[in-house]
């Protein structure tokens, strides 16, 4: 046993020595680490998984790693500046007669990173590739296009089966252009991993491992002198905590993270740490309009008036997601579309007294337990499905439940997994749900169209595309179609005003808070970041192709 004691002592000594060394190294390491940050930008965007090193611009899981960085689109359309267009691969565009055709002039002098020049043929090829393989058509442009052809040495014309002006955003901004020479030789483009992507964009992948992707500047990029940031590191984070920590210690400078108590966690750590969360879409209570009690508009209006949206925003979302309003217009992003007279008319959106009186008008009275009941004995008590993983949504629902209880409506949260929730929502197997649309565009039309267009709904038991609440109104449908048929901003605004009226009167959904883009930035080593006063692009590292614009504006200090 003497040997045991000896062994034990040696082990302890070694460990202690190692610990002391590590202590010193640890303190030195973090200090030395931040100094070496010069012209390399590190992104902190937790993806929950390791990198697969696939970069196909047509695969939904890989687009954020390649579109904008390696591949580019015809134009850049800024959703935060009402759709301002910046020409990229297309130097110009024009609408044809009746808005049924769209012609792009392709920029000359652009080369792919392997040296081959970009031509109009590549553009036409790319679009026809999406037609041939619908699985690649992520934005779904062929639902409105009838043909895409190269009509000149440097022009491509797209024909529509019916005018679909809002689709300009998807066509010009969301379709990455690939090289015909490379992709025509690919046997199965749907499963093609594209591990060594060749595009016209400012960066190349060099190299990719499962833990980290390094991007280096593309020497033959068509914008001279760009990009100024020569190297990007994009580590794979599997947990939020690690990603947040890397931001807080300055190891990463561009964050796309949800950080709780961001003031004390992040901005307090350095005067160079900033954040900005531009709102994008509404997070709403989605009523199942086929439910007999919820089909009464007054009940839905009452729910809208009963919720203290500011409180939900400050308590459930730590104030990160601003309160929404019943018009459905996300402010301040789309404030210019808001119908100010309507907003003034509906007055204070939080009005429990008005909620109660609306319920009484609908024939409900408070029973002895404090629940609104009608003459037939039916109680306003519902289950609301929610995604259990999103702890902020769970917290939101707790506040909402308290607010509704105060006017006599009981909601019982049912926190489901992502998959269960999706299934219930799509098939209409719920009473109330809490959700937001997954698409965002340069005007409120994109989100509201998804919610309100009868073409996107389905009966209970079948999958609804985006209109989960099963709202159907021919009048609204006509409005939405009219919006799609015009390029006149005046007409568009007038239609948008009418749609806001629909939102307030019909209450098909009840917006509560506004979802935001997550964005943190460190001004110590880089300048040129997008800010609230200079929203030249969507600032999140996962927004494509907006991230390209950010990278083209950034420069090392």
């Amino acid at each position: 046993m003497r040997r045991l004691i000896k062994a034990g002592t040696v082990l302890a000594a070694v460990t202690l020595a190692g610990a002391l060394a590590a202590c010193g190294a640890g303190a030195g390491g973090s200090g030395g680490g931040s100094a070496a940050k010069t012209a390399t930008l590190t992104i902190s965007n937790e993806n929950g998984a390791l990198w697969t090193c696939d970069f196909s611009p047509f695969n939904g899981s890989d687009t954020l790693l390649s579109v904008g960085l390696v591949y580019e689109t015809l134009d850049y359309v800024n959703p935060l500046q009402d759709g301002k267009v910046t020409p990229m691969l297309a130097s110009a565009y024009s609408w044809g007669a009746g808005d049924k055709s769209l012609t792009f002039t392709i920029r000359s002098g652009v080369k792919f990173s392997n040296g081959t020049p970009l031509t109009a043929a590549d553009v036409a090829y790319t679009f026809n590739l999406l037609k041939k393989y619908p699985a690649l058509d992520l934005p779904g442009v062929w639902s409105v296009l009838s043909s895409v052809t190269q009509t000149g040495a440097d022009t491509v014309t797209m024909d529509f089966s019916a005018p679909a002006v809002p689709w300009f955003y998807y066509i010009a901004d969301q379709v990455p252009i690939v090289s015909e020479a490379i992709w025509s030789k690919v046997a199965n483009p749907v499963s093609y991993p594209d591990s060594h992507p060749v595009g016209t964009g400012p960066y190349e992948v060099n190299p990719c491992t499962s833990a980290n992707i390094t991007y280096t500047a593309n020497p033959s990029y068509w914008q001279a002198g760009e990009p100024k940031v020569k190297k990007i590191e994009y580590p794979a984070f599997t947990s939020n905590n690690t990603a947040n920590d890397e931001l807080a210690t300055g190891q990463a400078q561009w964050g796309a993270q949800y950080i709780p108590s961001i003031a004390s966690f992040y901005t307090a750590k350095s005067p160079d740490f900033h954040y900005w969360f531009p709102p994008t879409v509404n997070v709403s209570i989605v009523p199942n309009l086929t439910n007999p009690l919820l089909s009464n508009a007054k009940v839905r209006q009452a729910i809208s008036y009963a919720i203290d949206r500011s409180q939900v925003s400050s308590l459930g979302e730590s104030g990160y997601e601003p309160p929404a309003n019943q018009t459905g217009i996300v402010t301040p992003t789309f404030s210019s579309s808001e119908d100010s007279s309507l907003v003034a008319q509906i007055g204070n959106s939080y009005d429990p007294a008005k909620a109660k009186s609306l319920l009484e008008q609908a024939g409900y009275k408070l029973n002895s337990a404090g629940v609104m009941t009608n003459a037939k004995g039916q109680q306003l008590s519902f289950t609301v499905i929610n995604i259990g993983d999103y702890s902020d949504w769970v917290a939101d629902m707790q506040v909402i439940a308290q607010d509704l209880k105060a006017v006599g409506i009981i909601v019982n949260p049912d926190n489901l997994t992502n998959t269960d929730f999706d299934a219930d929502l799509y098939y209409g197997k719920y009473q109330l749900a809490f959700y937001d649309q997954q698409t965002f565009g340069p005007s409120p039309y994109y989100e509201l169209n998804n919610w309100l267009n009868s073409a996107d709904t389905a009966p209970i038991g079948k999958v609804a595309a985006t209109n989960y609440e099963r709202y159907s109104s021919p009048a609204t449908e006509a409005l939405l179609n009219a919006y799609a048929n015009t390029t006149s901003t005046a007409t568009q605004q007038s239609i948008m005003n009418q749609i806001q009226q629909v939102m307030v009167t019909d209450v098909p959904i009840i917006p509560v808070v506004e979802a935001v883009d997550w964005y943190q930035y460190d001004t110590a080593s880089f300048s040129g970041w997008p800010t609230a006063s200079d929203p030249y692009a969507q600032p999140s590292a996962y927004a494509y192709p907006d991230m390209e614009q950010v990278l083209l504006h950034l420069q090392p200090k």
Binding site: P260, S261, F265, V394, N415
Partner: protein
Amino acid sequence: MALQATVESRRLPSSQALNRIGRAVRSNRKATAGTILLGIFILVALFPGVIAHDSPTLDAYRPHLGLSSAHLLGTTAYGQDMWAQLVWGTRNVLEIAFVVGLAATAIAVLVGIAAAYLGGLWDGSLSVVTDVLLVIPLFPLLIVIAGYAHGGGTLVLIVVITATSWSYTARQLRAQALTLRSRDFLEAARVRGERKIYIIVVEVIPTMTSLIVASFLTNALYAVLFASSLQFIGLGDPNTVSWGTMLYWAQNNAALQTGQAMWALAPGACIAALGAAFALLNYAFDEIGNPALRPVRRRSLKRQPIQPSPVEQGERHAA
């Protein structure tokens, strides 16, 4: 002679055993400390409204408040009073501890003693089941089951933990039951022709009272630790008020890194305190059972230079 011994030892019913336990608790310092601590928690669970005047669930206050006389532990990031949550959460924790403790002990008693007394194939198969369950790492098993069940509320936690954690105590009970089998008074009962059930219920179980109580304490302790761990990682129902769920929300809001350390430390300290209560009582029962382990009171050796050492005195007890 044997008959006389039988008559005397037949008077070893539960009441006398409990009496013995009562005396032991009072005289042993650890047992007293443990009982007082446990008593405090039980009182808090029974009368939470008396101790905490605020609602634990309402987001009624300003968030991120520090300690003050209005909010003894401050408020959470959602504006809830932490002290109220801590106090009301005691109910959920004790509920789980006692229900799982009792249920798991009941299963352990059943399995352990049955295995010892039925012998043969019964003993073989029950022992194998017990040993297998003993060896399979419990926490990963709990995680997997709770994962398939998508979490779920307190009831799911209780059922799942009870179903998996009885094996350790079952083994101990079986071991002791086996040693008792050869004792005189049981031999006498068998000779008298009593049924096995009678022997088990009336003779064996009362003799094993202290071990059964110790098993209950062990099971309750692990129920508290496992349940709060599962709640902490999000496999409980995050809307229940409990210490484990407080930790879950604290972790989700990076409480430690954002100056809200109390949100994580307070419930953890409570779990530790309750666990310590069970552990102290358990340890005390260990010492009651094996006096050699009892703490040695130092005696000055000057007055009686030639004395047997305490170790040797203890050794004389060996049964």
